[in-house]
Each structure stands twice: as structure tokens, then as C-alpha cells.
Symmetry: C2
Subunit: 526 residues, 2 copies
């Protein structure tokens, strides 16, 4: 996530300590894996690679790293061989005359090669510069082991000597990266995927998911490094089909269930450090997803305790959302609780919002059945009204497309979410998605794997498996062609170097909401 | 020191472990004093102040520091009220929405106001940029106490927020500077100095000395932070007349006595971290000063143990130096063992070098007497030859000035050192210095308080107290007028903003060799 911000400083929060204690009880011990660089890298311009740079293995031998001493303005790039999340250390010594000045060192941690040549001074976007993975360190006495205290998300590490003195140089040895995740690749069953392209997409999806699985499901380990509910929903689905780490999912569900506003609104994201804190950002669809994540979890685990604990929060949230449905069954969105659907604000999200409401309510109703909720009938009634309104007021029979009520606008998101909400019958859904493929593909103006995921899943739901597979290959496969080790926060096929923040050093190239092919492949193609 | 460098990588060193153990036994426990900022400072242009900037007290109240929250590109300058050497800490919290990005903070530690606006990127001198007292820190979780691990030398501390996020700001409180020195102002007797200008010069001299007295006599606590023998000689003299911390002086003498080259050459400076290490820099006059520092110490303390321990090293050093005296009594300097005398290389140093040889040899001879050295007569003979050569070949009777043999060049350093070496009788010395004042003053081309010290002392030795006092006031007094809290590494009255490195952020504004007015005032005016 990111790319959106709200300030709501008058919110009154409920902290349910019983639920939050269960969240904390399920905090994982991170699994640590020691990684050593596989090569010294040369970063070179390459227009086919992401943001115009690729990495090639240098003539310099990583085994002889300590011999490549560095003085003022000299640098070297280490290649970990894959993307990892964790902490870096390196031994440093001085070579030459006695060390007559401090060592001044810059370290850059880069997920993709293009971050290495990018100048942080050139970045002037609104998103905090503090996310740039660049550190400046003075070392007064050598030799020493430099242990960087912060966690980084990277494949490439540039060591840049800003200065030594004319009398000595710095020598680096024993570079070590201790990678961290709540899960291990060793616990992952290897599926047999015949199609090599899909196999590669699957492998990079699970690597992306693994690197985002820390003490919460993070959106991106480089940035924002926190639990967003929209990412959580997709991560949880991918997780059930891969690592199946149920404790982490449970923890995240309890975090959201335990921190809601007084009236029951669930925040879009939460912080866990220095203490459990909900963010003051609210997105209508994200709030609703609490119920769908709970539904998915209970479906997968049949865990009655979790259902009993969290059903009240889901119900309160649904009730609050349903206050925005008018007598005709029309969802009326308000500015203080907008739908996200996608980063793009170039299309109208009203119909997609209506569909998400239906999608979530249908799943909540199944939970209400399990709970023998006396209001079950009421929920079913309003769900019928919502569906009925969608069918009558939002669907254009002739176009075989859902439209925006006010303007008649046709957009991809409306079709996709109405199909996912299964408002129409199977045949109509198929026709809707066939029309969408015919008239809206190739998709333009969408930069998020999040939205692309929903398009692919809608194709599968509509029975258009071939088109779904093709879109996965076109989208995630192209990221691989451009050098992805993990899937990215943002990718626009029609503008391959698009960054929502104007610089690769701020973008996240390992982002939770892009990990879903692992789920899609396992669920629809296995 | 600094402003000179040699690389001699083929030197074979003797480490005398017995002497070095005594050096380590005399390592002081540093005295720590907690200092809190007295004001928030505004740095403003002022052409009369050092490097064009002065500090004025801000309208902002330091007691309300935490209220002045800082977001992207906002900064605040803390004023400690005086120059100190030590470590900084500050409490930091976030104010506003939850902290949704790291805090990225720059800290600048400045001895003089002009260092605050100076851009480190603009510095391109040869001296290592690593000396710039500027740090960049990422903080992932607030609140926290930021404890900077390194030691700084400063009065002003700028806290610059590079970024927070649009949703919150950083709030600073409890800024604390723990000052360190081996001595305390409380152990310093307050002398009664009638002349207010001299009193101010004295006070700033002892403050300069105090801040340079750490686990060795450092040349400058900002830079180079190490023990140079030329600075030590002057610091030891000032120390005897002020704090009188004999252990630290003894420690430094043993450090040099314990680390000489195989042939007995004493290095210009030594390092004490990570282990005791001599530098590979050799200066002829600095090497000779080992004997004069030992002489001064023994004169002051009558410490027989130190004399017995260190006389052999002094003798070996003197013997080595005397190999460069030819049969006529002429010192023949060589490129691999140059005299320092002063940073300036715009004057010929041959005659001053001859004088330093005589100056040192005369003091060594007094040590040899105490030691009943059988070679005493030989040393006296060669000393006579050196003096005789100086009187006959280097002194121009008509000009009443010493000259350079080869060229006839007259310069200040030649007169000063010949007077300090007391080669001529008192009356001639007086005439030499009167001529120097008449013909060479105001001095130009000299940037070091080190050389100015020797000029002042030569004036005192020659009986010209008034001229000596005037020069002290003109030189050190002008630094005070320009805003000095401690005396500087470099100052050229005719070019007041001269920096030998091109930027104030590299210059040292608290430098040992400028602390000598405390000695001169106490020795010659008390």
C-alpha cells in the first residue's frame, strides 16, 4: 500500500485487550538464514531491464573481496544472488599507513539494480525520503565489524567509501546478510507445475510472500513495512495455498479485530511498534475485508474460537457499512470513507464499491449462519436489495457490462468486482468478462498488481482460464523478463518504468499484493 | 597539526613494552560533566565574525524545545553556551498521526557558527571529508532516546529533519551533552590578572587546553584527535602552569619513548586506538622535542624515574639528529626528515632548524649532566660548533638578523628560534627582536598560533615584554573579537577567514598549539 493518506485526528479507539493478547500470543519467532554474497556486481544500463539498469557479474572475484581496497569515492556492489529481508554486517580494516582519519562510508541497499545509480538527492516526491535505504556511517577505529542495526530489503548492497585519507584505504571482508522471515522455503511443498512460465511466476510469488511474512504480513519489507488489510487478504489466501502459517494469519486478524473505532470501523492498517496502534486511515473496501478474511480463515481452518472471538467485530463493521446503503439497495459512498479498489483515480469506483459490499456481505452471511445469528434474515434481505439494485440499475444488458449509474461509464473494475461478487449467473459473468477482454484489453491506466489480481481471478471465476493464464503471463511474466526477483508494488505494462513516486529508490519491489499468482495457480490450475 | 603528510611504509619499529606499560598505567579516567543547551541559536551573517557568521539567541525558548516540532526540511540549532568535547543524546518523539515512516535526521556539530550553514558537499580539499562532524540517522520507531555513539567537539548542534512524513512531526526534548576531559576547571587555581584583555585570553587558553586533554594531549578534539609531539610540548608547558596534570604528561612522554624506529627516530605523532601505533610521519624538529619535553618535565617534577626510563630514547634521538651536523657545525637537513617550524613553505627553514637543534641540544646536555653521561663533553663540543657556525655563518651583524646561508634570506622564524636557543647574548637578542619588530611586523604569511607562540616567547626572552603582550593581544585577542570560545588551529590576521583546507567544517577551532598564552602569561607576567 501507500500512495494514499488521510489524517483523522479526532478518532476514539477501542482496544480490546483480550483480542490483542491473542494477537501477541501468535507473534512468530523469525527464522534466520545466513546469506553471503554470491558475486561482485557491475550495474550497467540496459533499456530492457526495470528502470533501465541490469546487474552483471563483475570480473572481480567475490572470494577476493578484501583485496579490492577502497579509498575516497571508490565503491563496490555486492550481489546476494536473490532478494532477502534482514540485517547486514561486514568486517572492515584499514590498509596502508595508520588510520589517521575516520572512515566515512555510505551503504545503499537496493532491491533492483536501478536503485544503485539513482541519486537520493534527486528524489522530491511527497512520500517520505526516509524510506530510501541509504546510510552514512563514520567509523573512528578499525578493524571492526560493522553491524548495521536496521533491517533492509535488498538483493544488492553498495559499499561506497566517501573518504579514508590519502594514507590508507578500507578493506572489506566477511559480508554477511542474516535473512529473516516467519516462514522457511523448507516448509513449502514443491508443486508440479508443467508450464515453465507459470512455474517461474509461482516461484517468485512465494519468494515475494515469504519476504513479506515477518512479525505481521507486511505490505512491503522495504516500504511501508506494515500490516494493511488489503494486502493481508491476498497474503492470507496465498499463504493457505503455500506456507500455510496459520498463527501469523490469526495474529493479523486479531490485530484488526482488537483495534476498531468506537463505532466499530476497522482501520486500513495498524502499527505494532513501539506498541499496537491503529492508523487513522479508513478505506471502505478495506474495512469490509475484515469479514472476508475472517470468512477465508474459518473456511480454511474451521477454527471456532477465532470465529467466536472475531464475529462481533465483523458484524459491527458490516452493520456500519450497511448504514451507507439506501432504500433502493444503492451503496452511497462518502468522502470520509472512500473505497480504494485501485490507486488510479481516473475511473469511477461506485459500481466496484457496490460489488465489494455484496462480495463481503455474502461471505459475512455464511459466518452469520455458522453463528446462528438471529439477524441472518435481515442481512440476506439487504444483500438481495444490493444485488437487485446492481442488476437493474448498474447492468447494461446490451453492452453486457456494468456501468456507473450516474454517467454510464464502463470500466474494468466494475466488471471484475461484480463477477467476483457473483451477482449474475455463470453464463452472464462469462459474457461480461469476454466483453471486457474484447473491449478493454490490453488494460491501461492500472499500475497495481492488486487490481490485476482481481482481473485474473474474475477471469477464472467466469470460466475464462486461458485468458486468466495469459494475463498472468503478460503481467507477472513481463516483470520477470525485466529482472524481477520478487514482484513489485507497481507495474504498468504500457509504461514499464512507471514509478508512483518518481524514483525507484522509493518504490517497493517486493510487495505483498503482487504475490497472488501462487494462490491463483494453486486454486484454479492445480 | 595536520596539513602535512608522509607515507613511510618500510619503517621497522621498536615497541618497548616496559615503557608502554607505564604509558598505559597513566591513562586518565575522564571527568564527565553534563551540559544542557543554554539557548536555541539563530546563525546569521556577520562579516566581523569568524568566517562571516555569528550566533544570536533565538526568540524560541530552549525550555520549550519539545513544542518546536520539526517536519521535512525543518531545523533547529542548540547552543551549549560554550565549547565542549563529549557525547550528545536527545529524546525524540513523534507528534501527530502514527509514525508511518522512519525519521531521517541530520545532526551537525559545530565549533563555530559558520560551520552550520557550510555545505559539506562543497568541501573538496585533500584532507579527509570524514572529519566533518555531520551524521545522518534513520530512526524506525519513536519515542526513543538517540544516543550518538561518537565524540564531538562543538558548541552548536543543529538538528535537521530531512523527513518525517506528511502525517507527523518530530519533537525533541532533554538534549544532553556529556563533556569529557582528563581535567576539571575546579582544579584550576584562578590567577589574578589585572589586564582584562589578558584575562580573557588566559581563560580561553585554559578552556582550549582542557578540551584537548583527553586520554592523551590531543592536537584538536575535532581533528586530528591525536598526540602530536609539537603540540604536546606546548600543552605540557601550559599544563605545568595551570591544571598540572602530571600523569597525562608522563603518559605521553612514555608513548613516544616507547615507540621509536629501529635506529631511534621518534615519530611526529602516535595513535592509541585500537592499539598503540606510531605514525609513519617524521619531522626533524618534532623528533628533537622529545628531549626538550623530557627536560621540561624533569625540571618541573624532579622525577628521577622518568629521567632514567626515558633518557636513553632522548640520547638515541639526539645522536641520530647530530649525524646530520657536518664538520663545520652546519645542520644539513634532508628531505626524508624535514623540519616543520610552521605550515608555511614560503620561507627557508634552514636557519630555524639549526636553532632548534641548538635549543634541544642545550636542554639535552642538562639532562646528560644529571645522568653523569660520560659523553657529556662530546655533546658540549658539538653544541659549541653549532652555535659557532650560527654566529659566524648565519648572523648578519649589520642587519642584526640571522640569515639563510645560501640565499641571505631574512625571515621571522630564523630570528625567533635563534633567540629561543639563546645563541647570542641578551643584548644582541634584544637587538635582533627589535629589528624583527621594526622590519617584519606586522607579520604576514604565518597562519599558525604555533609560530606566533614562538614569536611571543622570543620577545619575552629578548626582554621585549610590551611587544610580546601587544602581539598576544593582536593575535589571540583578535580571535576573541571574532567570536572564539577556544583558540583556533589556524589564524592569519591579515586574512582573517583563511582556512588551510578551504572550508570551516574541516578546520579545528579548538587546537592545542594555540593554548599557550596561559603559559606565557603565567611564566612571564605573573
Amino acid at each position: 500500500m501507500a500512495f494514499t493518506f488521510q489524517i483523522n485526528d479526532d478518532v476514539v479507539w477501542n482496544h480490546d485487550e483480550k483480542l490483542l493478547a491473542k494477537a501477541e500470543d501468535n507473534t512468530p519467532d523469525l527464522i534466520q538464514t545466513t546469506v553471503t554474497p554470491t558475486a561482485i556486481a557491475e550495474i550497467t544500463a540496459d533499456e530492457k531491464s526495470v528502470n533501465g539498469f541490469k546487474s552483471v557479474v563483475s570480473d572481480k572475484n567475490i572470494a577476493r573481496l578484501e583485496d579490492y581496497t577502497l579509498g575516497r569515492d571508490e565503491k563496490i556492489v555486492l550481489d546476494l544472488g536473490d532478494h532477502y529481508v534482514g540485517k547486514f554486517s561486514v568486517d572492515i580494516d584499514s590498509v596502508g599507513s595508520p588510520m589517521d582519519a575516520p572512515l566515512y562510508l555510505r551503504l545503499k541497499f537496493a532491491e533492483i539494480p536501478a536503485e544503485i545509480p539513482a541519486e537520493s538527492a534527486d528524489y522530491d516526491g511527497w512520500l517520505s525520503r526516509s524510506w530510501i535505504q541509504e546510510e552514512f556511517v563514520h567509523i573512528d577505529v578499525l578493524p571492526m565489524t560493522l553491524e548495521m542495526p536496521r533491517r533492509y530489503s535488498c538483493r544488492y548492497i553498495e559499499l561506497s567509501v566517501i573518504d579514508t585519507s590519502p594514507k590508507w584505504k578500507a578493506s572489506f571482508s566477511n559480508p554477511t546478510f542474516v535473512a529473516e522471515s516467519s516462514v522457511s522455503m523448507e516448509q513449502l511443498p514443491k508443486p508440479a507445475i508443467q508450464d515453465k512460465e507459470l512455474e517461474a511466476i509461482y516461484n517468485i510469488s512465494v519468494k515475494t510472500l515469504q519476504d513479506c511474512m515477518q512479525t505481521v504480513f507486511e505490505d512491503g519489507p522495504k516500504r511501508d513495512r506494515r500490516l494493511w488489510i488489503g494486502d493481508l487478504r491476498l497474503q492470507a489466501l496465498a499463504n493457505y495455498h503455500t506456507f500455510d502459517d496459520l498463527a501469523l494469519t490469526k495474529r493479523c486478524l486479531y490485530l484488526f479485530g482488537g483495534m476498531t473505532t468506537e463505532e466499530g470501523k476497522i482501520p486500513a492498517n495498524v502499527f505494532t511498534e513501539p506498541k499496537l496502534t491503529p492508523d487513522d486511515t479508513f478505506l471502505f473496501d478495506y474495512s469490509l475485508f475484515f469479514a472476508t478474511i475472517l470468512f477465508d480463515y474459518v473456511e480454511h481452518t474451521q477454527d471456532q474460537e477465532v470465529l467466536l472471538d472475531l464475529y462481533p467485530a465483523a458484524k459491527k463493521e458490516i452493520d456500519l457499512a450497511l448504514q451507507q446503503v439506501d432504500e433502493q439497495g444503492r451503496l452511497v459512498l462518502t468522502e470520509d470513507w472512500p473505497v480504494f479498489i485501485d490507486w488510479s483515480n481516473e475511473f469511477d469506483k461506485a459500481t466496484a464499491g457496490q460489488a465489494v459490499m455484496i462480495y463481503a456481505l455474502k461471505r459475512f452471511i455464511q459466518l452469520a449462519e455458522k453463528m446462528n445469528d438471529v439477524q441472518l434474515g435481515d442481512y440476506q434481505t439487504i444483500c438481495d436489495q444490493l444485488e437487485s439494485f446492481a442488476k437493474t440499475a448498474l447492468y447494461d444488458e446490451a453492452k453486457k457490462q456494468f456501468v456507473i449509474e450516474a454517467s454510464g461509464e464502463v470500466n474494468v473494475a466494475s466488471q471484475v468486482w461484480m463477477v467476483l461478487a457473483e451477482v449474475m449467473d455463470d453464463e452472464t459473468n462469462k459474457a461480461i468478462m469476454e466483453t471486457t477482454v474484447a473491449e478493454q484489453f490490453p488494460i491501461t491506466g492500472i499500475a497495481t498488481p492488486y487490481m490485476y489480481h482481481h482481473v485474473v481471478e474474475a477471469l477464472f471465476v467466469a470460466g475464462l482460464s486461458d485468458a486468466a493464464v495469459q494475463l498472468m503471463k503478460d503481467y507477472w511474466g513481463t516483470m520477470i523478463e525485466m529482472g524481477a526477483d520478487t514482484f513489485w508494488e507497481a507495474f504498468k505494462p504500457e509504461e514499464p518504468n512507471f514509478s508512483p513516486y518518481g524514483s525507484p529508490i522509493i518504490s517497493s519491489y517486493c510487495h505483498a499484493w503482487s504475490c497472488t499468482p501462487a494462490y491463483l495457480i494453486k486454486k484454479y490450475l492445480a
